[in-house]
Symmetry: C2
Subunit: 327 residues, 2 copies
């Protein structure tokens, strides 16, 4: 087993070493930018964590695929930000905003390709399985983004549909990270599936927490403007839950608040405050917290099938830091 | 060896069998559309041709990667058409025009991922080499597109720079197709490199022919409006060559013609006719034809190092149909 400290050191070294200095710089600069603006490195960290359950040393055969997961995730962010017209990411300009939408398309493309170059460094003996897992996951992430965009046009999205969508958009890549580490580490088929389940539920919990923090988080810690989902009329776990619960007067109040204009900064603040107030009345913030804990329990149940003792604690701690997130 | 007839039948079967009927249809419909509107299937045909030099039967281990090359090429077309604002492709609406730029971005992404799924079906014994070749090539294609866009802003692109750009944008993927077929077929390292050289030179010849046909082709056969490079002030082999040759009065005439407005259909026709007239005076159409033949010779020289007799004739015929193209 590899301990927490070594995992952290490996994650840190991984992204210190990625350069993206190839030519033409107009193509590769945005890749370096995306990696340098940071992020939680959740997917490579999880991949290295599940690998650590089985091995005593890291080697390029796991480090490169782990980095590939982060590079792939960054690629999806670049393209999602164009489609969502998001100007800010991690407190700084998004790639399309800083350069141009054309640059964001093409630099995203080469970043997707780069992620495959890294994943393809997995050991020969399981390379075909690693790639099949990765490609299936990558396609599902695109499917999730498509549903997300389609849901924007719909007023009747159910909680089941919403959970399936975030499962595709966020859950499967985190699940893939957990399974890939196990696969390269030499886990049995049953263990891999349980770790996939663990990652999937954590991924859902992570997304529900993201939706929660967007409304109830601390802007300085969260790194994104609070209330942006409300301002942009974006479907979130809280919206879907609120419409599920609201009846009578509360329902019409909610519809009215959602339809408020956001032309001026004052109007934005008013809308955020009105919607947040209704969420509080309906108790959907508390519901979100309950949902996060329920998903965490499911993740831990799956982890429990794979290991106990010190090894289980690695997975338990990873889950704790993820669901206890404030950013 | 597998003969020409069987290669043609395999190419035909390959794209009859690709469905892209997964959900959500909003994501996958454009993939089916791109495959259905056809194309020359040049890259899979070449991949199957070089494989045929070494084997007597096709099997999924070559057919899937060959199809992957076409799927990848189609993905680059979807994204290039957004960046180039091209409304037409093969005589029909481009994906961004028919759906939307957002759909074109996301459907392109999933098509890139699909191409990897197919290439990853290569035999286990050479999967890592096939993937390294494919990823390197895929990144180079993006680099070529970036240079192409950067060249639009520059008035001083040399012929060397132009050839390097089309080498990346068009040459390397055709070269990769030739090498991949050989690699999966079991060719020696030297043979693979020669076949790469063969494909690379054919790719350059193909692009110069494309530039030539854009000005001097027959619109009904070519499938794209003739003169579109001139109307869009796009750098082409002919432009670069013309500026290389023109001096004194011819140079100022050329600059003037290139600067003509294209606000109305009449102005477009006038500009095309003026530029074409100058190209004819300068003899750059004939130069392009010479260049195509020179590149063809280089391709055949490389092919000659690999084989003779019937096997060489497969490569010779492939080259002939490619440089003799009218569309």
């Amino acid at each position: 087993m590899i301990n927490q400290e070594k995992i952290e050191a490996a994650v840190k070294a991984l992204f210190g070493g990625i350069q993206f200095t190839a030519e033409p710089s107009g193509l590769y600069d945005p890749l370096r930018y995306m990696i340098e603006i940071g992020g939680k490195r959740l997917r490579p960290r999880l991949c290295l964590t599940t690998y650590s359950l089985y091995k005593d040393e890291f080697c390029p055969e796991i480090l490169e695929p782990a980095a590939g997961l982060e590079v792939f995730h960054s690629f999806t962010l670049i393209h999602d930000d164009i489609m969502d017209r998001s100007p800010l990411r991690r407190g700084v300009d998004t790639v399309w905003k800083k350069w141009s939408p054309d640059t964001a398309i093409l630099s995203g493309d080469v970043m997707c390709i780069d992620s495959y170059s890294r994943v393809a460094k997995a050991p020969r003996k399981c390379l075909d399985e690693v790639l099949a897992l990765f490609s299936k996951t990558a396609a599902q992430v695109c499917e999730g983004q498509q549903y997300d965009m389609e849901f924007e046009e719909r007023g009747d999205v159910t909680m089941d549909e919403y959970m399936r969508m975030i499962g595709l958009k966020t859950g499967v890549l985190i699940a893939c990270a957990a399974k890939m580490g196990a696969l390269i580490g030499g886990a049995t088929k049953e263990e891999r599936e349980s770790l996939y389940e663990y990652g999937y539920n954590l991924g859902l919990a992570f997304q529900v927490a993201d939706d929660y923090l967007d409304v109830f988080g601390d802007e300085k810690v969260f790194g994104k403007p609070i209330g942006s989902d409300i301002v942009n009329s974006k479907k979130s776990w809280l919206t879907v839950r609120a419409f599920e619960k609201a009846e009578g007067g509360a329902l019409s109040d909610l519809r009215e608040a959602m339809a408020m204009g956001v032309g001026t900064p004052e109007e934005k603040e008013e809308k955020i405050s009105a919607v947040r107030g209704l969420y509080q009345e309906l108790g959907v913030g508390r519901d979100a917290q309950d949902s996060i804990l329920r998903l965490n329990s499911r993740a831990l149940e799956a982890a429990r099938k794979v290991c106990d003792g010190e090894r289980f604690m690695l997975l338990y701690d990873f889950a704790g830091r993820l669901i206890g997130r404030a950013k």
